[in-house]
Symmetry: C2
Subunit: 325 residues, 2 copies
Amino acid sequence: MVRGRISRLSVRDVRFPTSLGGHGADAMHTDPDYSAAYVVIETDAEDGIKGCGITFTLGKGTEVVVCAVNALAHHVLNKDLKDIVGDFRGFYRQLTSDGQLRWIGPEKGVVHLATAAVLNAVWDLWAKQEGKPVWKLLVDMDPRMLVSCIDFRYITDVLTEEDALEILQKGQIGKKEREKQMLAQGYPAYTTSCAWLGYSDDTLKQLCAQALKDGWTRFKVKVGADLQDDMRRCQIIRDMIGPEKTLMMDANQRWDVPEAVEWMSKLAKFKPLWIEEPTSPDDILGHATISKDPGYSTEMKEESVKKHQYPDGEVWKKLLPAQEN
Amino acid sequence: MVRGRISRLSVRDVRFPTSLGGHGADAMHTDPDYSAAYVVIETDAEDGIKGCGITFTLGKGTEVVVCAVNALAHHVLNKDLKDIVGDFRGFYRQLTSDGQLRWIGPEKGVVHLATAAVLNAVWDLWAKQEGKPVWKLLVDMDPRMLVSCIDFRYITDVLTEEDALEILQKGQIGKKEREKQMLAQGYPAYTTSCAWLGYSDDTLKQLCAQALKDGWTRFKVKVGADLQDDMRRCQIIRDMIGPEKTLMMDANQRWDVPEAVEWMSKLAKFKPLWIEEPTSPDDILGHATISKDPGYSTEMKEESVKKHQYPDGEVWKKLLPAQEN
């Protein structure tokens, strides 16, 4: 049972000078200082539990996200956590649909990042009060409660609350076994840490060798700034990891659509599983065009449309029909 | 000839309590305080000319846009206006593609609004130094110079710089006559000022009568909060303006796709020219679905896809092929 009233929200601008080592560099973000807006919420309950939430930024501009968190704070302060948890969708709507603030979003950019930091802190507080990590809170949650946390605005034409509930209810079968399996074997992950664009070939080789030694089987490489450079680096990685292990690529929105098609026709020989963010992340039909180009393997064609880091469900819902056309 | 080096950029948070009178209210923004981040740039030239630029906000959150303007200021300060004007595309790219700041955009929401306020101030300064209003600066500009101001990133698959140049060069024919005609007769505009959602029927009638007296022939009405209310208000306006004058509708992103189709099938009898922002502004395929619904007149079907207030060229480029499918 959750408890307490939100009595304080504080937010810090936390920065790390990662650009000094070229860490995190890609074709569009060449000198990132990996940073965060760090939100802490406290309650008047006597347990002393705090909820912490961050959103990731690249250095400059973190103060703008901090400013937006402060603008949102009044939607959280003085609320009973019980009331938030009892109507999470309503709480989400309040944060995202404030009649004045949504104008500078909506659900995009700075306001999106600020909202996420606040929501992450609330989820963290909720889970800590229940004595669980967030994933376990979600896994244990009744499907009806889980869908009640989600705002289906703008996606009901492809997924309604009832559809989602049915999917989750079907998923109850075998859930315990899957949880056990996950706890024993872990969830498959990939590493990007070897292949930032700011790294020399020597650093790339050294980190890739270490990652192989540590048991990694999936590797992502940043591409898109210089084709010859990309071809050399992809060759190095593919040679080191061999033909069986998985290689992914990420252009971080660098290309125009025809440029993406041309560039990827040259990189296809390194057998990437996907190309991530080949162009503007909002260009659904552009992604469909790129994915349909005959220069790629079938496998890649499928994944290149499916796998992108998008800000909201809105974009996901459009990728599927666009691909089917 | 432009002159001077940008020596100062200041930005103010200007607010007006328009919500007190229900001015500007729509289905999503029920209590807007029409406001602005107001940017002023100065140069070290002796003419004392300042460039002013604003972007429009709804009250709360204007301080976040102000914060973002300050984060962008270093891309403008100490630059020669001559250098900015000589490579406007490069200047635009610097503002929108800062390797750290673009992460909290890119070209969306707060950063988009802040960038626009700064760019508006630069255009204003440029035009004032040339002794012209901005429209005249643009009209008189050599087509090659004009296209050189535009960043074609992400749109070259539907419009290249060469395509745009050809359009503008063809447009040179008859330009003088069109300019004369425009100066003599004005550019057709519509009014939204009668029909904010916050107005009573009496206020609506009074303002509509006044607008007709003032010679307006095109009227936009806010819809989307309550269907019965919309039907009553649309009936009042259509009765007052008669069958020949133009009526437009604007739902300000209120509906899901099926909801938009259902709602507009009820409002179609008032013969709207278009429905603006029926759903999420990013949902291209959703807009295509809504526009293809047989509940509308042919005229409306065309316009509902063409006419939307979108943040960038990216969205426009996608509307056209989506409509053709």
